[in-house]
């Protein structure tokens, strides 16, 4: 068949078209995104975004194991590309001044400390970029994971009771024990406490808070920050 090119020509053409796409869609963005460092504040040792605790890193694995990403995104699009800011998902309290609010989209630099990044593609649940903002403390978040209906009767989130254990109270009640009422309350003499997995998951969720400004908001920043040179 004259219309089918020889195998070698065909092979090189196919590789070239793959390479073209791979170069522009994978390699080129990597040269831009792959070397981002935190920004160091002038005259101080503070960096933004700041590093994540070891417990939060362990929480990333729990988040991955239980597939939270199939319903929750972790990316806030700019005002011009969606209603994420209007939904309130881009708002957080300023970490340096708790009277101020930071409302902004997500930037690649927000994710540099995470080992496992969960941008997500489905919003059956709310965006979690600033989820720590919506829960005052770990206890509330534990209760929400144990039974989402307590705090939000319309929630379609499944309950994650396997992240908790019911145990007999020996001596004093555990400090982590959940305050449960109604159907959820354990029998007298028992308490419901979070497992290690639940604790690291909650540590991770409470680390999701982007209450800081980045120089990226004013336009592209050179991949290597100037304070390094």
């Amino acid at each position: 068949m004259s219309s089918t090119p020889h195998f070698r020509t065909f092979f090189y053409l196919v590789l070239a078209s793959f390479f073209f796409n791979w170069l522009f869609l994978v390699v080129w963005p990597w040269t831009n995104l792959g070397h981002q460092a935190p920004i160091q504040d002038e005259g101080s040792t503070d960096i933004t975004p700041w590093a994540i605790s070891g417990a939060a890193h362990a929480g990333e694995e729990v988040y991955a194991a239980n597939g939270c990403v199939y319903c929750h995104t972790q990316q806030v699009r700019a005002d011009s590309s969606g209603a994420d800011i209007i939904r309130g998902w881009g708002t957080a309290t300023d970490l340096s001044d708790d009277k101020k609010q930071v409302t902004r989209r997500s930037y690649p630099r927000d994710y540099i400390w995470q080992h496992e990044v969960f941008l997500g593609n489905s919003r059956n649940g709310a965006d979690l970029s600033n989820v720590a903002q919506r829960f005052p403390d770990a206890a509330t978040l534990y209760r929400y994971l144990y039974d989402p209906y307590i705090l939000n009767p319309h929630s379609s989130m499944p309950a994650y009771r396997f992240l908790f254990v019911r145990q007999k109270i020996s001596g004093q009640r555990s400090v982590d024990a959940l305050d449960l009422a109604g159907d959820d309350a354990p029998p007298a003499g028992y308490e419901v406490v979070p497992t290690a997995e639940a604790k690291s998951l909650v540590a991770y969720l409470l680390s999701l808070q982007k209450g800081y400004h980045l120089p990226d908001e004013k336009g592209p920043v050179p991949a290597t920050p100037s304070n390094k040179s």
């Binding site: 792959g34 981002q36 194991a65 969606g82 309130g88 496992e116 593609n121 489905s122 919003r123």
Partner: protein
């Protein structure tokens, strides 16, 4: 009746009348049949898991007995939505579509190269390893080793098995291709080769991403200062999202789509007895598809934390995808419909499946085109429309191609007919209406969900969007139930056929009700398949 030389099967009217083709079919019998049977098994597993996962998202009152499953998912981590859903999708994409795709590729490559397959035992070992890999991967997901990277959830230990399995497949296939007989060239081969070359490229990039995830905690624990290595490894930060988008769309458009299209370009002209309509555009369609299709990856990046220029360029390229989609549609839908008209009665049993597959291909192309429009993408980006898009490729286009292919191929492998015309009809209509309804529900539901999610009224919350989405999800679950009935019928039918065939092999006698599918080769002008590549 022609008799093949090597395997000496007596042609009872089901094997190819061309002795050369009959011998080729016989040479690939075991690996192809084994891949078909195991893929059907994964399809059943995946569909059951999918129905279970999607029923978990419904209010417990809607389905009697559902509260039992919901309780199970709350108490036992194995059965939580976030594990069952990815397991279902992976079982369908890798267990079902990829396994059957490899079987189809073996058969098609051997046939179009006009040579018996090179090292069939290696292929058989490949199928076995592939299935072990899938089983390990799914078990890993249930045990909580999932990486939660879309379509790359399988834990690392199963990824190695899949690599070995793919290598065992690829070597005999390329060997077969290189040993092809003079004149053994066919456009279908180009599609197959693209798929076979794309898969290792995609999988290698995906594995790099997973490798980073495995490595980074270790490096971090070793006390290396983060800034010195964070960015220097591929797969850090948002690159994970980007690589995953590239991988997912690559698997759909450069792996599954070319495998299916290869089969369609071979079978549609053969079954309709016509040469490909607008055949001169087939080469253009091929090359434009290979260049443009992988750019659909940016559909998952619009508005996200990615370089804006990459997204803009990507949207332009992926927006041009209408060119190959239109040409391929003209080629395949045009030929299939003309063939159905010519032959009457929808052109037999196989052609309806293939012509439906061609139509769904165009529908999938249109959905990619819709997502290439920036404003439409913003509306639909995080809704069930995206599920609809993936569903179109895997359950719609690819499954119909594979069903049609299996209805054609299995009788030729075994020289034995399907058992019941009624079951084939039931399978066809259950799948047809199931898939069309799912697509309508998820497509329209996606628009409605998007209109709520992207509402500019600040009082609208995620709860409102969920309320809108819920009814569509419930309807979609019921339609998936319908598809699963069709798939179950097919699985039982294939099992029945193989068992009867085995019984005959053992007893050496014939069953009375054997002949059901007309052998097509007799009705087709000779050399019709070669006209395709012209």
């Amino acid at each position: 009746m022609a008799t093949s030389s090597s395997s000496a099967i007596a042609n009872k009217g089901f094997a190819s009348t061309d002795p050369e083709l009959a011998a080729i079919d016989a040479s690939v019998r075991w690996p192809v049949l084994f891949s078909f049977l195991t893929s059907i098994h994964w399809m059943v597993v995946g569909t059951i898991l999918l129905v279970y996962a999607s029923s978990l998202t419904h209010p417990q009152e809607t389905i009697p007995g559902l509260s039992l499953f919901v309780n199970l998912s709350e108490q036992c981590s194995f059965f939580t939505y976030g594990r069952v859903f990815p397991a279902a999708v992976d079982a369908l994409v890798y267990g079902w579509a990829t396994t059957v795709g490899l079987g189809l590729a073996v058969w098609l490559l051997a046939r179009t190269c006009r040579t018996t397959v090179f090292a069939p035992t290696t292929l058989m070992t490949g199928v076995i390893f592939w299935n072990i890999g899938i089983a390990l991967g799914l078990t890993g997901i249930f045990l909580g080793d999932s990486s939660s990277v879309e379509l790359l959830e399988f834990p690392a230990y199963s990824t190695w098995v899949l690599w070995i399995a793919y290598t065992l497949f690829a070597i005999p296939l390329f060997g077969t291709y290189l040993g092809r007989k003079p004149g053994g060239d066919h456009l279908a081969q180009s599609w197959l080769l693209v798929a076979l070359l794309a898969f290792p490229w995609l999988f290698a990039t995906g594995t790099t991403l997973l490798g980073y995830r495995l490595l980074s905690p270790t490096l971090s624990a070793a006390g290396l200062p983060s800034s010195s290595w964070t960015g220097s490894l591929p797969g850090s930060g948002v690159m994970q999202g980007l690589l995953d988008a590239w991988y997912v769309h690559g698997i759909l458009t450069l792996w599954l789509a070319p495998l299916g299209l290869g089969l369609l370009y071979y079978l549609v002209p053969k079954l309709s007895g016509l040469s490909i309509r607008f055949g001169s555009k087939a080469q253009v369609a091929f090359w434009t598809w290979v260049v443009l299709a992988p750019w659909t990856a940016v559909h998952d990046m619009v508005g996200g934390p990615f370089p804006a220029d990459t997204v803009t360029i990507g949207l332009i390229f992926s927006g041009l995808i209408f060119i190959p989609v239109a040409f391929i549609g003209m080629n395949l839908v045009g030929t299939a419909w003309a063939g159905e008209e010519k032959q009457g009665h929808h052109g037999g049993v196989v052609l309806p499946f293939l012509s439906l597959a061609a139509v769904v291909f165009v529908a999938a192309g249109i959905s990619e085109e819709i997502l290439s429009i920036r404003s439409a993408n913003q509306l639909l980006r995080f809704t069930m429309f995206r599920e609809c898009n993936i569903f179109l490729w895997v359950y719609g286009f690819f499954s119909f191609t594979a069903f049609g292919g299996m209805y054609y191929i299995v009788p030729r492998l075994l020289d034995f007919g399907w058992r019941s015309a009624l079951l084939i009809k039931a399978h066809y209509y259950a799948s047809l209406y199931g898939i069309l309804l799912v697509l309508a529900m998820l497509g329209f539901g996606g628009v409605m969900q998007g209109l709520t999610l992207e509402n500019t009224d600040t009082h609208v919350t995620i709860v409102n969007a969920n309320d809108v989405a819920l009814s569509f999800y419930i309807a979609a679950t019921m339609c998936v139930g319908l598809i699963s009935i069709g798939s179950g019928i097919f699985a039982l039918h294939l099992g029945w056929m193989v068992l009867d065939w085995l019984r005959i092999q053992i007893r050496g006698s014939r069953l009375a009700s054997e002949i059901l599918l007309e052998p097509y080769e007799g009705t087709v002008p000779a050399k019709s398949s070669e006209e395709v590549s012209a």
